[in-house]
């Protein structure tokens, strides 16, 4: 055999060897999470009900619970999460650059965000709409009375554009006062600089209950001027991680549909004969393996946070501080929009 021929064969063999040594199709994000041992979750700096830290540094909220459920399904432990508070300007850059694995920060899914930022929208966890809050003293009963008025708004959100669209469509000539920080915008409204404050209706409820000195002095106007489907986002180019996040959320929604709760998940895992429940909990089929996770991926998630209904009740439901009704966020067979794809 000639020397050059032998050399060529050796080179080809080495390249094939390295290719074989690489794992079949492991997503970079999942590998990073397993190596690190925690999920890095981008959350709000402080929005009660969605993502806020209490005085002990413990994070609670609907978006926070989604992160905990994803950590439980991926790593088996809901506490293995690192929370990175992000404001409206930083959030997309943090996700794009790899600083966080998942952005769970009451982010609206829009075409621009899904298509041009290199990010993917996963599943809507809260269907919201933008509204206005005004002081009761102003005697304003409808958003159409805001002709020529000043409205406080936070920069870097879909809120600004929606406000302009509504103002133009109704000939209102609204003057926006735009603040970088959420706290500055809320402050300016409560000191009376602006006659109204606008953001998603859930954010208005959160602000009114947590920041206002006398919540009853403010009313939320009935008009919802936009659709705001909120949910977590992940980076493009990692379909495995996208599938994990998406199906964890669908699993939580389907668990509520089929009556699996945080209290009865252990009992149902060992005793249930219902085909759907056994599939979700991993006793009959191993759906976790298809996602690259363990058999108990969904059981772990439900045990950690409860199903979607329980997450909703705990953080933003009628009995919580925000007091929001289920409304369109109810199950599809109860008149709402939450429609889980079948986990099988």
């Amino acid at each position: 055999m000639r020397i050059s021929n032998l050399k060529n064969v050796a080179i080809v063999a080495a390249v094939l060897g390295t290719l074989a040594a690489m794992p079949a199709h492991a997503g970079k994000t999942l590998d990073g999470i397993k190596a690190r041992g925690q999920v890095v979750c981008g959350v709000n700096t402080g929005l009660a009900g969605f993502g806020a830290a209490d005085s002990n540094g413990k994070w609670t909220g609907l978006d926070v619970d989604i992160c905990r459920a994803v950590a439980a399904s991926t790593l088996g432990d809901a506490e293995k999460v690192k929370y990175v508070p992000l404001n409206a300007q930083q959030r997309f850059t943090a996700l794009q650059s790899g600083e966080v694995d998942i952005l769970s920060r009451n982010t609206t899914f829009t075409l621009t965000r899904d298509a041009s930022l290199g990010l993917n929208a996963t599943v809507t966890t809260y269907y919201d709409g933008q509204g206005f809050m005004v002081p009761v003293k102003s005697k304003i009963k409808s958003a159409k009375q805001l002709k020529g008025q000043t409205v406080c708004v936070q920069s870097g959100t879909t809120t600004e554009k929606n406000l302009t669209d509504y103002s133009k469509a109704n000939g209102l000539n609204i003057k926006p006062v735009v603040f970088e920080k959420l706290e500055a915008a809320e402050n300016a409204y409560f000191t009376g600089r602006c006659i109204a404050y606008t953001t998603d209706a859930s954010g208005l409820a959160s602000t009114r209950n947590k920041v206002a000195k006398v919540p009853a002095d403010h009313i939320i106007l009935p008009e919802l001027i936009s659709k705001e489907p909120l949910g977590p986002m992940v980076r493009r180019g990692d379909d495995e991680w996208f599938a994990i996040v998406k199906w964890t959320i669908y699993g939580l929604i389907e668990a509520e549909e089929y009556g699996i709760t945080q209290a009865n998940v252990d009992k149902l895992k060992t005793e249930s004969k219902d085909p759907v429940a056994t599939r979700i909990l991993g006793t009959s089929e191993d759906t976790g393996k298809l996602l690259g996770l363990s058999k108990d991926w969904m059981a772990n998630a439900i045990k950690a946070t409860g199903n979607y209904g329980e997450i909703f009740e705990r953080n933003v439901g009628p009995k919580s501080a925000l007091g929001l009704p289920r409304g369109v966020n109810n199950q599809w067979n109860k008149g709402g929009l939450m429609y889980a794809y079948p986990v099988r």
């Binding site: 997309f92 000043t150 600004e160 302009t164 500055a184």
Partner: protein, 391 residues
């Protein structure tokens, strides 16, 4: 031993210092250009790989957002680059006014440090120490909080003559534009020329013969009379658009928002304290003999400061003063924290609507770079004019 002949000046050999210098400079330029190219190329490749769209084409798309205040009307259907232009005018508006006011205030306080009155001296010292040592962002926030907390809501605004002061800002009457104002502007131009020509003649006469004539008052009077003449010829209009109290806010008239007022006041007071120190240092650098000679000539304190000390101090004052002007311009970017729509605030909004982070930030950097370079060019020209020409 043969004497070593030094190399000729333009010899292309390594022993020539000029040649070595040239080679080092070329290598440094190539390295810097390489680093810059590598960074830009790396960024673009990474953005493309991750599916992040880039490019400046978004500037011609419709903005889709309103701007709270601007010098001229802006509609949300206009393009992004026009929104950026509004942001730039807002920044320049607060920067130019701030520079003028801070210079006046800073000079007064700096000169006041040399007053014979101990109370004036003490007040100036405490002003400087107080405003210099608090971070400027805190000062802006403090002024904004004061303005929005202390002032009443618009429906209960304080009225001082035709002016209204409230949380909605300062509302003032603006003249209704008609031909009279245009003719006043037409009269202003020849008035300026006449006034300047008279002043030149008066200064020349004073320097030649020593005859004092009015060198400031009379030219100013000429300018004023010329504009009034133009206004009268144009029909003498006196219509004003007066602000009136509406249901929730003051309507009509012109308005200065509390955001603008807070930014202006905060930046002016902060920068004035620095300018006061610069002026004080400049005056202290002039030899004491000059002050004594001035009083020996019979000049009073005011004239001594104005005619002898300050002109000589200008040489020392102008370079650090340029620094303070640039600082004020750049500090105006903090206005985004209190809701003033300057260019950084507009860029933030554009960044979030389009996702083009790199492009928007680089546009803002370009704006500040051009503004700062322009300011320092202007000041350097003034500096070379004010410099003492040594014999």
């Amino acid at each position: 031993m043969k004497p070593q002949i030094p190399p000729k000046k333009n010899n292309w050999s390594w022993r020539s210092q000029a040649f070595r210098g040239l080679i080092y400079q070329l290598v440094a330029m190539v390295v810097i250009a390489g680093v810059v190219w590598f960074l830009a190329h790396n960024t673009l490749v990474n953005m493309r790989v991750r599916g992040i769209q880039s490019g400046f084409d978004f500037l011609s798309q419709a903005a889709g957002f309103d701007i709270g205040e601007s010098l001229y009307p802006f509609d949300s259907g206009e393009s992004y680059w026009r929104a950026f232009l509004v942001g730039v005018t807002n920044t320049l508006r607060v920067a130019v006014l701030g520079i003028i006011l801070a210079t006046i205030l800073g000079t007064l306080i700096g000169v006041g440090r040399f007053s014979r009155n101990a109370l004036v001296r003490g007040l100036c010292l405490s002003y400087v120490e107080f405003f210099r040592n608090i971070p400027v962002l805190l000062q802006l926030l403090m002024w904004y909080v004061i303005l929005t907390e202390v002032l009443p809501i618009s429906s209960e605004a304080w009225a001082v003559g035709p002016f209204f002061l409230s949380k909605g800002g300062l509302n003032f009457p603006i003249p209704v534009w008609s031909t009279g104002q245009l003719w006043a502007a037409y009269g202003l131009l020849p008035g300026l020329l006449l006034g300047w020509a008279y002043r030149r003649w008066a200064v020349r006469r004073f320097e030649a013969t020593g005859q004092p004539g009015s060198m400031v008052l009379l030219p100013a009077l000429i300018v004023l009379l010329a504009s009034v003449l133009g206004w009268a010829l144009g029909g003498a209009p006196t219509e004003f658009n007066r602000p009136v109290k509406g249901d929730f806010a003051i309507e009509n008239g012109g308005a200065l928002t509390p955001e603008f007022l807070a930014v202006l006041m905060g930046l002016t007071l902060y920068t004035a304290s620095f300018i006061a120190e610069v002026v004080r240092g400049g005056i202290a650098s002039v030899a004491r003999g000059q002050a004594e000679a001035a009083s020996a000539l019979g000049l009073n304190r005011n004239q001594e400061m104005r005619l002898v000390m300050l002109p000589q101090a200008l040489r020392v004052i102008i370079p650090p003063l340029t620094n303070q002007y640039l600082n004020l311009t750049k500090n105006s970017s903090l206005a985004v924290a209190i809701g003033y729509p300057d260019v950084v605030s507009i860029a933030n909004t554009a960044l979030n609507q389009t996702g083009r982070a790199v492009e928007c930030i680089s546009l803002v950097m370009l704006v500040y770079l051009i503004t700062s370079l322009g300011t320092s060019l202007l000041m350097n020209w003034y500096n070379s004019r004010a410099a003492i020409k040594e014999r």
